[in-house]
């Protein structure tokens, strides 16, 4: 009975399993790549991705187009990443040396460049240049004013470009 109640609740929001699969196919890869880059490990990225979609499906939300859905998902992801970061910080305080670092590998330089940016700058640049989101969608994802996106994007871009200029092979 509870199972059918959950299914019914989902159907009232206009999304059954098939529609969800289509939505997931359109939106998940960019978000997953972003989470992999920001978290630096697959397990955390997996967990956060799944939690993002769970929260998206369970939330009472108005009808959205694809761009708005992406913004909504990135907003959830940003909140989850912030929670994770706080947890990692408190673990690092309580158990120094226990918190694992991202493994060394061919992508270590990419991670190092991204980690020079704040979380807000990372999501701004990712939405603008990987997801090709509009300023309005970026504002919805980050909770910033649409009018301030252009200048914040400019500053974040400049910061990353400066870091990349010091290691030019990464931009190719």
């Amino acid at each position: 009975m509870l199972d059918s109640a959950a299914n019914r609740a989902e159907k009232t929001r206009g999304l059954d399993e098939e529609a969800f699969a289509a939505l997931y196919a359109h939106t998940a890869s960019g978000l997953f790549a972003y989470l992999l880059r920001v978290c630096g490990n697959r397990d955390d990225a997996d967990d956060i991705l799944q939690e993002c979609y769970c929260r998206y499906l369970v939330a009472a939300r108005p009808a959205m187009d694809e761009g708005q859905t992406k913004s909504y998902l990135y907003r959830i992801a940003a909140n989850l990443l912030r929670d994770r970061w706080r947890r990692v910080q408190s673990h690092a305080r309580v158990l120094p040396g226990v918190v694992p670092k991202a493994a060394d590998g061919p992508d270590t330089n990419i991670l190092a460049h991204l980690q020079q940016l704040s979380q807000r700058e990372q999501v701004l640049l990712w939405l603008a240049y990987v997801e090709r989101a509009t300023h309005k969608e970026i504002a919805a994802a980050t909770g910033l004013q649409p009018g301030s996106i252009r200048i914040l994007l400019f500053r974040a871009r400049r910061k990353l470009a400066k870091a990349l200029r010091s290691a030019p092979n990464e931009s190719e």
């Binding site: 509870l2 199972d3 109640a5 959950a6 299914n7 609740a9 989902e10 009232t12 929001r13 206009g14 399993e17 969800f20 699969a21 997931y24 196919a25 998940a28 890869s29 960019g30 997953f32 790549a33 972003y34 992999l36 880059r37 697959r42 997996d46 991705l49 799944q50 979609y53 769970c54 499906l57 369970v58 009472a60 939300r61 108005p62 009808a63 061919p106 992508d107 990419i110 460049h113 991204l114 640049l125 990712w126 603008a128 240049y129 990987v130 090709r132 252009r150 200048i151 400019f154 871009r157 400049r158 990353l160 470009a161 990349l164 200029r165 990464e170 931009s171 190719e172």
Partner: protein, 158 residues
């Protein structure tokens, strides 16, 4: 650089792999578009490399996990009024015991009370119990009939 944007930066972000000759010419003189191209190429390459060889969780797994979470939430919602009524009933019972003790009924009962002594307190007790029962039933009925906040929002949005 006097301004933080260029009219052609969208185009520069789109044409990372093969900028048109016209755009390539523009890139030589526009620092903003050159930056956009560098950053876009880096981030898009970074996304491709992140996904290469890293399988994503399937939509099916995420859907099932969500259904499980929904069921758990529905169960909690269903059990919530029961726990509230439990607390309510326990509080009412405690109050009634205090009231009975205050009225001296317990002492009277313990001492083998006369019919006359009880006749003053029991009607009050019955009225009290009836009020508690009515409030409990009203509360439970209201819960059953009132749609949840989630359902109301979903109805409003459709």
């Amino acid at each position: 650089m006097s301004r933080p944007y260029c009219e052609r930066e969208e185009e520069a972000a789109r044409c990372v792999s093969a900028p048109s000759p016209d755009l390539a010419e523009h890139l030589k003189s526009c620092e903003i578009c050159a930056e956009v191209l560098t950053v876009s190429a880096f981030l898009q390459n970074s996304a491709r490399r992140a996904l290469a060889g890293t399988p994503m969780p399937s939509a099916d797994v995420v859907w099932r996990k969500t259904m499980l979470t929904s069921r758990r939430a529905a169960k909690q919602r269903a059990l919530w009024p029961i726990s509230v009524i439990n607390v309510f009933a326990l509080t009412a019972a405690a109050l009634i015991v205090v009231w009975l003790m205050d009225a001296g009924v317990m002492d009277t009962v313990r001492a083998g009370a006369s019919e006359h002594a009880l006749s003053g307190s029991w009607p009050k007790l019955m009225v009290g119990a009836a009020i508690v029962a009515i409030i409990s039933v009203a509360f439970a009925s209201m819960y059953m009939l009132w749609p949840s906040r989630t359902e109301r929002k979903a109805q409003a949005s459709t």
